[in-house]
């Protein structure tokens, strides 16, 4: 048994590592350029060359702040064509375009030369001084050159080059410097296409980056409880979660307790009345309740009990009344209770239906066992048989359903907290989701996963301790 527990504990390490990698993988695959979104949120009015420079600095700053610079993982499995320095390209969309070209042509030196030619041309276009009547044309050309930096397909490149051509052809004198650049781009592009070495993309290559990578830093930070800053308000994620967590834990714990307090007697009652109409009624009600999703239930409950047009029994939302923070302790507690009764009931409702059904099934299995029959045969009262003998054996599996219930409660909480406006972790997660607030979302995801994992571990160990008949190797 000790071996089992030890093994179980050991195995959790790679599992946690895998969960963190999974979270990290998700967070790094967000579409679009987060850095750009954040950096440009703060650079409204930038026009001169100086501010182009500044924008770049700002981009770099935000990128470092978000921990997005450097290689992504300890190693990367790429092709021979891939340089191991691609992560040094500042902007994500440009990096992606280059990657796409590498996948097609496989000759990094030529691709790099082409990229630098485009960058130089773009600089030249922005530096170009043209007479005011050519303003629109110049602006268009600038835009096209800028676009060239991050497009990769033949069609898109051709489209942009042709568009620039059409402008420079009309104003050869004014756009002369650009024609030079354009020819340079064309030459580099020709070299890139003609000297393509696609075979290189079929030769696998393993790059080892060492510990100075994004994942390592992220994981280390995560484990040392530094979860970064929220994109929404730049507050530390840890503070935000710390503020939200008590509500969720409180609600979760309370609903667990309530669920068990209701479910066990209901299950037992149903078994005691097995076969009677009471049993059938209880079973039917439980079955129907089990089929109503908690958020549908929440909506209905709210419509009828928080709505002055029907019954206004409970406050509509939130967790406390105004000014409650100055009330005496007991009044304050009562106030919290008043606000939280309805959400808690709906929360625990998720568990009640599930647990009662489990309880009933488990009990039925137990009461059919021989020793219970013996007890009955001995003439013990049914009540004693059920509560003393059957309970002891069927309560254990129910306790371990905690592990199954935990993820359910968390998932349910996500929607319920939104509906009841409880400032918990679920609501935080949804808000973060809508705001593409990756640090918050990923921290919550990882954290809940780890907590659930620990919950499952705990219930497994409990189970093992309590019921040594379990064959551990099979679990």
């Amino acid at each position: 048994m000790l071996r089992y527990i030890l093994r179980r504990l050991l195995i959790i390490v790679p599992t946690m590592f895998a969960i963190m990698s999974l979270s990290f993988l998700i967070s790094r695959n967000t579409p679009g350029d987060l850095v750009d979104a954040l950096a440009s949120a703060t650079d409204e009015e930038r026009s001169s060359a100086r501010s182009r420079d500044q924008a770049k600095k700002e981009y770099q700053r935000v990128k470092t702040e978000l921990g997005l610079d450097g290689p992504v993982f300890y190693f990367s499995l790429t092709s021979l064509a891939q340089p191991d320095t691609l992560h040094r390209i500042l902007k994500r969309n440009e990096r992606q375009a280059l990657d796409q070209m590498i996948a097609r042509y496989g000759n990094w030196p030529e691709i790099s030369a082409y990229y630098h030619a485009v960058c130089a041309a773009e600089e030249a276009a922005f530096a170009l001084k043209t007479p005011p009547d050519l303003l629109n044309e110049t602006n268009n050309v600038r835009l096209y050159f800028n676009t060239l930096r991050y497009v990769a397909t033949e069609r898109e490149i051709e489209f942009n080059l042709a568009a620039i051509d059409s402008v420079t052809a009309l104003h050869p004198a004014e756009m002369a410097p650009l024609t030079v650049e354009l020819n340079n781009i064309r030459a580099k592009r020709r070299a890139m296409v003609e000297d393509a070495t696609p075979w290189k993309t079929y030769v696998p290559a393993l790059h080892w980056y060492g510990f100075n990578n994004q994942f390592h830093r992220w994981m280390w930070n995560f484990l040392t409880l530094d979860w970064g800053k929220s994109f929404q308000d730049r507050r530390p994620v840890r503070t935000k979660i710390a503020e939200a967590l008590p509500w969720s834990i409180f609600m979760g714990f309370l609903s667990f307790v309530i669920a068990y307090l209701i479910a066990i007697p209901v299950g037992v009652y149903s078994v005691r009345k097995r076969g009677t109409w009471q049993d059938r009624a209880v079973t039917t009600v439980l079955f129907l309740a089990y089929s109503i999703p908690s958020f549908v239930m929440a909506m209905l409950v709210m419509t009828f009990f928080c709505n002055p047009e029907f019954f206004y029994l409970f406050p509509t939302s939130g967790v406390a009344s105004d000014g409650a923070e100055n009330w005496p302790f007991w009044e304050r507690m009562l106030d919290y209770a008043h606000h939280l009764i309805l959400p808690t009931l709906v929360f625990s409702y998720i568990g009640v239906a599930f647990l009662s059904r489990q309880m009933r099934v488990g009990m039925i299995d137990t009461v059919d066992m021989d020793y219970i029959r013996t007890a009955r045969a001995k003439g013990l009262r049914e009540r004693t048989v059920i509560w003393k003998h059957a309970m002891r054996n069927s309560i254990l599996p129910i306790i371990t359903h905690l592990a199954n219930l935990l993820p359910r409660i968390v998932s349910g909480a996500v929607i319920l907290e939104i509906i009841f406006a409880i400032p918990g972790v679920g609501r935080l997660a949804i808000q973060a989701n809508f705001a593409y607030d990756q640090p918050v979302l990923i921290a919550i995801l990882t954290l809940t996963a780890i907590l659930t994992l620990l919950g499952i571990l705990l219930s497994d160990i409990l189970y093992a301790v309590a019921d040594p008949r379990i064959s551990f190797s099979k679990r």
Partner: protein, 441 residues
């Protein structure tokens, strides 16, 4: 939100699949009126999903216009297939108001879910006066804020809900059965490979990943952008490359096994590895994971949701299959097949899996219910479902901003509730039929 993790008790050995096993199960199910009722209702829902257009559409099924006979609904079908050309004046016409039809046979509901009735916007109650021409245009279940017909939305929403439920669970079942069966059957002590074989297998997997996915990543991305079917094909090809390379690697290792050190046999921990994967997926709250992944998928469509629900929802089925397999693997007929010298894989696919499938049906029924709920929850939160698709969850969502419009919460709520109830009932009935012992005397 996740499919129930109830593990139905297993049928006793004498009921194990044999000829006529499924017929027996069916016979037993037929005796239970409630199960049969649920079964018929599920069939009814499927019919509604299938024939939604015939029940609610904004064009007549048949009509006469300017002396000519039209079948506009079929015309739409044909023109989508490129077999029919609408006349210019009919293409974008509103058949209800623009055209003077001489005779017409209409579907019972004359609205599509996204048709806006400007005369009845802002939450028209089914009980209030409605500004409609005659009762045939009545919004029987009211309208939403923009004047969309709720009943039509419910009917067409059935299609979305059931399709998502079935496809997602279909994907999940495939993965779940495969992984669950392998984990349960092989356990940690049945699949042996030589040391060199294991090394080559790992190498094969890495290479297979490289050639299947790394090299082909832009092929896959392009296919995803263009056409979902093509993407499915390409993804399958990638998967085949991965599997093929891995298998080839193992075979390549064969000649090297003669070298004594490299030839030593080792057991592969199939169960431990797969169980860890299941554990990881299970420990992340399903809805949260789905939401996070939907946040990084750029294409919003119901297909994306189906695939993601499928790819993440297989753990329940896999766990159940694994449990089932743990028992099956020691059955006599399996032992007999093994002792005859059949390969482990053959025994697994030819004997073990087919004989353990029946109880999985129960989990599948529950899983469909679970997927329907998850889809409704996602639409309710406004995540993942595109703008122009009407679903039950979306109707329910509009009830959140308009609480007084009880018809917006009650009817979709009932639809979700009934679907889930029927699927659950069916699952229960199936479970009872598979295992008559637990039936309550």
């Amino acid at each position: 939100m996740s499919p129930p993790e109830t593990h139905p008790p297993l049928p006793p050995p004498e009921l194990r699949p044999g000829p006529g096993f499924y017929r027996q199960v069916w016979q037993r199910m037929r005796k239970k009126p409630l199960t049969m009722f649920a079964y018929r209702m599920v069939v009814f829902l499927a019919l509604v999903a299938l024939l939604a257009d015939f029940m609610a559409y904004n064009k007549p099924l048949y009509c006469k216009y300017k002396g000519e006979t039209y079948f506009p609904l079929f015309g739409d079908y044909l023109s989508k297939l490129g077999l029919y050309r609408w006349d210019a004046d009919l293409i974008n016409a509103d058949w209800r108001t623009d055209l003077e039809l001489e005779a017409a046979f209409w579907p019972p509901i004359r609205y599509l879910p996204n048709d806006l009735d400007y005369n009845n916007p802002r939450l028209t109650s089914p009980l209030d006066d409605q500004r409609v021409e005659n009762w045939k245009y009545w919004h029987f279940l009211g309208t939403d804020r923009d004047g969309r017909d709720v009943l039509s939305g419910l009917i067409h929403g059935t299609r979305i809900s059931l399709t998502i439920g079935l496809v997602a669970v279909g994907i999940a079942t495939l993965i779940g059965i495969l992984i669950g069966a392998m984990a349960g059957y092989f356990g940690d002590d049945r699949l042996q490979l030589s040391v060199i074989g294991i090394a080559f297998l790992i190498l094969g997997i890495v290479l297979g990943y490289f050639y299947g996915f790394q090299v082909r990543r832009y092929v896959l991305a392009d296919a995803l952008e263009n056409n979902l079917l093509r993407f499915a094909g390409q993804a399958l090809l990638s998967l085949l490359i991965l599997v093929g390379t891995s298998v080839a690697a193992v075979f390549l290792a064969k000649p090297l096994e003669r070298i004594p050190v490299l030839g030593q046999k080792r057991y592969i921990w199939v169960d431990i590895i797969f169980s860890r994967i299941i554990e990881i997926l299970n420990s992340i709250p399903a809805l949260l994971l789905i939401i996070t992944i939907l946040a990084i998928t750029e294409q919003q469509s119901i297909y994306t949701i189906m695939v993601i629900l499928g790819l993440l929802g297989w753990t329940g089925i896999a766990r159940y299959m694994r449990g089932e397999m743990l028992r099956t693997r020691s059955m006599e007929y399996i032992q007999a097949a093994r002792s005859l010298g059949y390969s482990e894989w053959r025994v697994l696919f030819r004997h073990a899996i087919p004989n353990s499938l029946a109880p999985v049906l129960v989990v599948i029924a529950f899983a469909v219910a679970g997927a329907v709920v998850t889809e409704a929850a996602l639409s309710f939160l406004g995540i993942g479902v595109p703008e122009d698709v009407m679903t039950w969850g979306k109707l329910l969502k509009s009830a959140r901003t308009d609480v007084e419009a009880w018809w917006l919460s009650v009817f979709p709520g009932i639809a979700i509730f009934l679907t889930v109830t029927f699927m659950n009932l069916l699952g229960e009935g199936l479970q009872d039929a598979l295992n008559p012992r637990t039936r309550i005397e």
